[in-house]
């Protein structure tokens, strides 16, 4: 069932309907399109008990102004474009209930440039080749194949029954966008077409994001990367995050609306979990590339996927000012819930098992944060705990 939910009062700079992309038709020359920041749209959908691949609005730089024409629940994730609800600051990375007549607006970019307005049930537009994503260059998919305009009316599909307001994404998982970033890359597939100097330059120089950037690609500027002989290859397939180096030696990062094939040498590919960082970059930001192996990148991805499995916090759970979940039910001694399992202490919490170590009478729970371990100390006397950073 479909329900009219949004009226577009002002479309903003570029607002389109996107999901995770039109995958599977690339052999026929159909670009994938889809959300530029796939992490943000995924978390927005999870806040609303949607499927990861449900469609949302992707707003760019200057966000839209939208009137709710029925009651619903939304979540805004991704870059911070200063969202407001009826003129008051609207919290991001949280499910929020909207009443008919409410207005969402954006006051301008604060960190990052692309925001996702996710809605319970997902934006309902026709599935074209199994996707709701808008591919603007060929007017395929999304809302009539185009970006949103004033007066457009959008519908949502039937929400999941479990959807509630006040659900949050753990603070420790919310990315801080903007500024200079390091992008981890796997070299190849055409790294052998570059001189040793060329590869070194690529891995040690800083590159600046230029204003030539859109959903298709982002041009960078910096020290010239030298090819062995030529910059052209017999055209082959392009990935989300492929880094092309044309004859001028300046990198072009291929993004969501990339063509399926291209004839420039590709020196490296950005690893999946780092692509959102470049999706949110703006002109002037400096980029540094850092080499990792395929195996390394795949392990990082697996760890990251595991971490975000537990990153949605239900409203019934109290968090502290850091956004962390206390490791126990507040009115009980946290150690009551600890069990000794084959010599190590294990705590079951929120369906996840934590291995706890004891040092100087303090219990340490290692929490995985983007591949780094952080220790949280629990005193045995009560519910208070300190964060050791």
């Amino acid at each position: 069932m479909s329900n009219k939910v949004f009226e577009i009062l002002q479309p903003g700079m570029l607002t389109t309907v996107q999901d995770l992309g039109r995958l599977g038709y690339q052999r026929l020359g159909v670009p994938a399109a889809g959300a530029m920041d796939q992490f943000a749209i995924k978390m927005g959908n999870r806040l609303l008990s949607n499927n990861d691949n449900d469609a949302a609005l992707e707003a760019t730089f200057m966000g839209p102004s939208i009137k709710a024409i029925s009651d619903t629940i939304i979540a805004i994730t991704g870059g911070d474009l200063s969202p407001t609800l009826n003129g008051k600051i609207l919290p991001m990375w949280e499910s929020i209930s909207l009443k008919e007549g409410d207005t969402i607006s954006f006051e301008g970019p604060r960190a990052g440039i692309r925001t996702y307005i996710c809605i319970a049930g997902g934006i309902d537009v026709p599935l074209i080749m199994e996707s709701r994503s808008t591919y603007l260059r060929s007017n395929i998919g999304g809302y009539l194949g185009r970006s949103l305009q004033q007066g457009d009316i959008l519908s949502s599909s039937t929400p999941n029954k479990e959807v509630v307001k006040g659900r949050k994404v753990s603070t420790y998982i919310v990315p801080s966008y903007g500024g200079d970033v390091t992008l981890r890359v796997v070299l190849g597939p055409q790294d052998s077409e570059f001189t040793e100097d060329g590869i070194n330059t690529f891995l040690t120089s800083k590159y600046v994001v230029t204003s030539q950037m859109d959903r298709m690609g982002i041009r960078l500027e910096g020290t010239e990367i030298t090819h062995r002989e030529k910059a052209d290859i017999i055209s082959d397939g392009i990935m989300f995050g492929s880094i092309q180096i044309p004859g001028n030696g300046q990198p072009i990062i291929m993004m969501a609306d990339r063509q399926t094939t291209g004839g420039y040498t590709k020196i490296a590919t950005i690893i999946s979990i780092d692509i959102p960082k470049i999706s949110q970059a703006q002109p002037g930001d400096k980029i540094q590339f850092d080499k990792v192996t395929v195996e390394n990148a795949q392990n990082l991805l697996k760890e990251f996927e595991e971490t975000i499995q537990n990153a949605i916090i239900d409203p019934s759970i109290q968090t502290d000012s850091f956004g962390f979940i206390p490791p126990s039910i507040p009115d009980k001694d946290p150690l009551e819930q600890l069990v000794v399992d084959e010599g190590v202490i294990v705590a079951d919490h929120m369906g996840k098992r934590y291995i706890i170590t004891q040092k100087d009478g303090i219990y340490h729970i290692p929490i995985n944060k983007r591949g780094k371990l952080k220790n949280f100390d629990i005193t045995s006397s009560g519910t208070s705990y300190q964060v050791e950073i």
Binding site: R27, I234, I238, S242, T260
Partner: protein
């Protein structure tokens, strides 16, 4: 299993979710055939964790989900598929007939092609429509075929200034290549004709008419016949002629 897969294949990483299987470094129908055979056997296989594939002139890009496959497990799985292909499983490619109205308002650049090749209009049409073109790959826009096999006598340089808008169905020549614009788009190819058939049609169950590895034959039709076909295409009653073909 004994590994009988050729040593000349390169297995190249494209990030943490991409694998490029490179069969060579030239544009060649035999190498391209190997790309399409592997592509087809992946489609027919029950391999898990494959998001999409992009067959191109001489390589195949496979995007996979690292939660289901890692680089080595995928390479091994594809080697097994290639070994299977060596054991004699070949697929006869499809030949697709594309009717074309040549010249006049439908092919505004045909006079330029004649001048440049020093051939008459009839000769240009005859040469262009008497070859079976291999669809090496699709790209540029949805459904745009990169065709190989054009007679070099009608090779013509691109327009000096590309057109900002070329109607869908336009048949063109650029250097030694020929192709058809599936959707309205900008472009710099010399336009010699128009096909009333939709190469890309979202209303059709199979939106993209040509598949990589197909062969194409252009069949000249008179304007009146072309218009009749166009009506049938619009009404959804036109059936494109196809047959199997041994190159």
């Amino acid at each position: 299993m004994v590994n009988t897969v050729d040593k000349d294949i390169r297995w190249l990483p494209a990030g943490d979710r991409g694998l490029v299987v490179e069969f060579g470094n030239v544009i060649d129908p035999d190498i391209n055939r190997r790309v399409h055979n592997l592509a087809q056997s992946i489609i027919e296989s029950d391999l898990i964790g494959i998001s999409y594939i992009v067959p191109t002139y001489r390589s195949l890009l496979v995007e996979y989900n690292p939660m289901n496959q890692n680089f080595d497990s995928l390479v091994n799985a594809l080697k097994t598929l290639l070994n299977g292909l060596k054991e004699g499983k070949t697929i006869a490619p499809k030949l697709v007939e594309i009717p074309v109205i040549y010249g006049g308002e439908y092919g505004p650049d045909i006079d330029f092609v004649c001048k440049s090749s020093k051939l008459s209009i009839d000769q240009v049409i005859d040469i262009h429509s008497s070859a079976n073109y291999l669809v090496y790959m699709l790209g540029f826009t949805p459904g745009f075929p990169y065709l190989g096999g054009m007679n070099e006598r009608i090779a013509t340089p691109r327009l000096k200034t590309p057109r900002t808008s070329i109607p869908a169905g336009s048949v063109g020549i650029a250097e030694k290549q020929t192709g058809v614009y599936p959707i309205e788009s900008p472009g710099g190819w010399q336009l010699i004709g128009y096909t009333p058939v939709n190469l890309f049609d979202l209303a059709r169950e199979k939106s993209v008419l040509l598949e990589p590895g197909n062969y194409v034959r252009f069949v000249p039709v008179e304007e009146s016949m072309g218009k009749k076909i166009r009506t049938e295409v619009t009404e959804g009653t036109y059936e494109v002629k196809t047959s199997h073909f041994t190159p």
